[in-house]
Symmetry: C2
Subunit: 352 residues, 2 copies
């Protein structure tokens, strides 16, 4: 049984949704250490629940706090407490829906980095055709070196394989042309490194291909990755707004919109962020899931589920092994330790 | 009367659409120098047309040609010939729908840069809420310095004001957070330069805000700009594909889709790229419009119309004046020469 530390206070609207999601996860066999203000959490739990233990944490990190400062100034916060449970071995994974910047800082400080990783990366699963596509780095590092991009590719690939059950994730390098020579100085340097790595590298990926289903991992520096991620969000919002306005532009269109609504709802459900629980911070000594601050019960349940699966399959240990700085290169070409591990069943992400 | 040189062969499907668009523009009073293979162009023109003259150019630059090589190897091509007409003063603006990379190279080589501009930038108008938003640079330069971003801001602002008739274009700096300190090394350095420039600088713009209507110019290095541009295209394609599939998922949805179709068509027409004629290459000694290789008649007409308007209002001269390297800084703060020029009427972009 795996143990997941959960920040019980890390939600825009208080602990109710977190507790509900934690109950669901506990019912599925995950042990949850719920960190936060005991009275509030007990009130939401409504009595003792099998598989859930409360860990006292009196402080809460607020979205208005400056992230790095808050993490140092509030050592007794629910977020820091949850991260520390991973550091001290009480839990193998941590989930927080608190402010993302603070969670990044808290994880770096209190979970700690895998040896050889200078820059952990944020992986965000995008609703691409057929299977999710992990965009890594989605914003942890605003400047990156080629070596960082290589590590993002290896970590992202391992994560999608072990945790998302995609046997041979196709890895793309975000760039501005298909040829290896196209891109900026960093991507041009990173291209041959990724091509030589023991991953299924499929070359450069342009912005328009990220959702196409051709790639299950897309590697980027955190600046371009974040610009792209938010661009996709903005395009979706703008376009759905246009469709909505079009569906209100005439009586005929209104009726059409009403008839189409259930199908559009199903589409929205298929692509909603709660399906994947949030973002994954890769490169740390524990599985770290940054849940959305407005996750519903399902979002929190899926965040805990993915954290638990990552812990169960030992994805962090496998990443560490592949990324060890003193590992001989020949070893990187023959990943026997990885290929002999039995394939995990695909996670039931997104079921209702 | 302004004269626009048009690459008569620069279209994926031959000269028919270009000639039709050129006729429309000529009928509106633009003088067109149509460069290409005389027999083909004459056949399409079907007799002499007021305002259109054919300039012989026997070669054609092909999408399969390596851009920079082709421009040097085919000095008699329709594209190079059109650019040279600007250089020698026979035309004030040039339009080509030929391969964009080749047009970039041809313009740099044969139109030439404004003094003080090391990196011209590609401005692409995006269909933002209310008014178009010019994303500059959309891919001419894969690496940029802060000084380049400053010049993009000044040039983009001047273009949107003079050519698109937006009186005070709000300029944003593409970044990954609203605070000036957020971004990569180049954007953080560029922020105070843009803030001190004589433009309406509104601070950082995140990827999700590009289409919001808050900004009419968004400044980016060509790598992030191109990633964003193609990401927006990819998101639109993916989402419209989803809507289409949703509209075929049941009989009810099918009927809804049919009823909604006219409204969705109107939306598509409002946002289609042909409305703006293409991309604008800013920083050169002439107005350069890179039309889409698959532009319709309307797209070519609008490309020529925008090129003509740019020439008419003297946008290149005004940019050169603002960007002159030996211009005293105090002068930059008091753009009397710009503010006293009468406001041009808004271009009739996008009318059918």
């Amino acid at each position: 049984m795996v143990t997941v530390a959960v920040d019980g206070m890390g939600h825009d609207e208080g602990p109710a949704g977190i507790v509900a999601g934690a109950k669901d996860a506990a019912a599925e066999g995950v042990r949850v250490l719920l960190c936060g203000i005991r009275e509030q959490l007990e009130a939401e739990l409504g009595g003792s629940v099998d598989g859930i233990e409360i860990v006292d944490a009196a402080e809460v990190i607020d979205p208005s706090d400056e992230p790095a400062t808050a993490v140092r100034a509030k050592p007794g916060s629910s977020m820091v407490t949850a991260c520390r449970l991973v550091r001290d071995g009480s839990a193998e994974a941590v989930v927080s829906g608190g402010p993302a910047g603070a969670m990044l800082a808290a994880s770096l400080l209190h979970v700690g980095r895998i040896r050889g990783i200078s820059r952990p990366g944020i992986g965000v699963p995008l609703p691409a055709q057929g299977a999710p596509c992990l965009l890594i780095d989605s914003g942890a590092n605003s400047d990156a070196r080629a070596e960082n991009l290589l590590q993002f590719g290896i970590m992202g690939s391992q994560f999608m394989r072990d945790v998302m059950g995609i046997e041979t994730p196709s890895v793309g390098l975000l760039s501005i042309g298909e040829e290896p020579s196209k891109g900026n100085a960093v991507t041009v340097e990173a291209h041959p490194l990724l091509a030589a790595a023991d991953i299924d590298f499929a070359g450069n990926c342009e912005g328009r291909d990220v959702l196409s289903g051709r790639f299950q991992v897309v590697v980027a520096d955190g600046f371009a990755g974040n610009v792209l991620l938010k661009g996709l969000e903005g395009a979706a919002a703008a376009l759905l707004g246009e469709v909505r306005r079009a569906a209100e532009s005439s009586t005929r269109a209104k009726i059409g919109g009403l008839l189409l609504r259930p199908a559009l709802r199903a589409m929205r459900d298929r692509t909603e962020p709660d399906n994947y629980g949030g973002a994954y911070l890769l490169g740390l000594r524990g599985v770290v899931v940054i849940a959305h601050g407005n996750s519903g019960r399902k979002g929190i349940r899926n965040a805990i589920r993915i954290a638990a699966r990552g812990a169960e399959v030992g994805v962090v240990g496998r990443m560490a092994e592949r990324l060890a700085p003193d590992r001989p290169t020949s070893d990187l070409q023959a990943p026997a330790a990885i290929n002999t591990v039995p394939q995990v069943t695909a996670p039931e992400i997104g079921d209702q």
